[in-house]
Symmetry: C2
Subunit: 196 residues, 2 copies
DNA sequence: CTTTTCATGTAATCTGTTACATGATTGC
DNA sequence: GCAATCATGTAACAGATTACATGAAAAG
């Protein structure tokens, strides 16, 4: 007996299944959640959800709301849960980072140090906002779970994965921020030298 | 007088122009270089280089080699240099990271802690190899420039940008590594608790 | 003798972004 | 009055991956 090949189901699709392990949800909400750790937009997600239904990995229920549009609330099927577990055990693809600032950095010497400085200053502002948002999210989680030390969240809590990812983001953004600030200091140094 | 709109030239294209500021180069070499800080493959790059020629941003010369295939050596044109400077001054897009491990982490509670452990152990191995490669590259740069403190590289050196990017990668990978190791410890803790 | 490296290209397919499309409600 | 939020969808286009295609030399 061999498994039926699940066709056209990509990494993003597994990400959606992953979100649905916490609780049933609908497209609009899944979009806002997945965006926190995987770039995606509604033009991808609505068709993908339909495909997941076709493949029998999720099922949905039409839910009517008062003063709001109807929504389709999706849940994992048994087949969806099985597909998810198979995927987790498979080798994980290497991470892919696309950062335009890195490409600009490569030829940064072609600009004035002052231009370089404003380029990096803008990115630093971006990261600082990100960091604030993450701290808010962390605090929200603490309130919701009514614990102060989030590392006490049990392995099988529905919030365990989300907590790990908040920490990942904090670590990553902190390192990016440090790099930007270090580079900025270098630019300042070169600016000062030029003015001698 | 307004500038002619440069059409169909994307971020990867600017990345190629960026590489060409250091020295003229050919497709095969540009692929290996750009891969260090932007995911791309030859199926994209050869057609893009042709497009850049059509747009007059680069020009090429066919170069014959003994015992090796011919190659097309591309150089920046004046128009290419101008396009590059325009691009640097424009607002920079936010970085986009796609990491399958993050999606898996979100539903990690659905696996055994032992599975989680091997998932993260594999990624730790990957990052450690990455770090070694980076250290090699750093040492190579030190030898080539015959200096021990790379932060002394002048702003207008052709190696300045590359040096900044090596440091960025070191910072990033170190933070990823620390996160993985922290998560691994959490898994170990949970494993130990289960065995009580 | 087979795989890797060098070197370039195209074609098919898949993934991702932006625009088009609808429509009610809430806040400014 | 106008933009944003909620909610779903499709279509057109752009970007990325993989496979197909060639061919010589070097390394194992």
């Amino acid at each position: 007996m061999h498994k039926r090949e699940v066709i056209g189901i990509n990494t993003l699709a597994y990400g959606l299944l992953s979100l649905l392990t916490v609780s049933p949800s609908y497209g609009y909400d899944l979009i806002s959640k997945i965006k926190l750790f995987w770039p995606a937009n509604h033009g991808q997600i609505y068709p993908l959800l339909a495909k997941l239904v076709d493949n029998g990995l999720v099922s949905y229920e039409q839910v009517q709301q008062c003063d709001k549009p109807d929504k389709k609330v999706y849940s994992l099927t048994e087949s969806g849960k099985a597909a998810l577990l198979d995927w987790i055990a498979k080798p994980t693809a290497a991470p892919a980072l696309r950062d335009e600032l890195a490409l600009k950095t490569f030829c940064i010497r072609k600009t004035e140090p002052a231009t370089a400085r404003s380029l990096f200053a803008a990115r630093i502002g971006f990261y600082k906002q990100n960091l604030k948002d993450l701290q808010d999210k962390e605090n929200l989680l603490k309130e919701k779970l009514a614990i102060d030390d989030l590392s006490q969240i049990p392995f099988d809590s529905p919030y365990f994965g989300g907590y790990l990812l908040i920490q990942k983001a904090v670590w990553n953004i902190t390192s990016d921020l440090q790099w930007c600030e270090w580079a900025l200091k270098l630019f300042e140094k070169h600016l000062a030298e030029r003015q001698l």
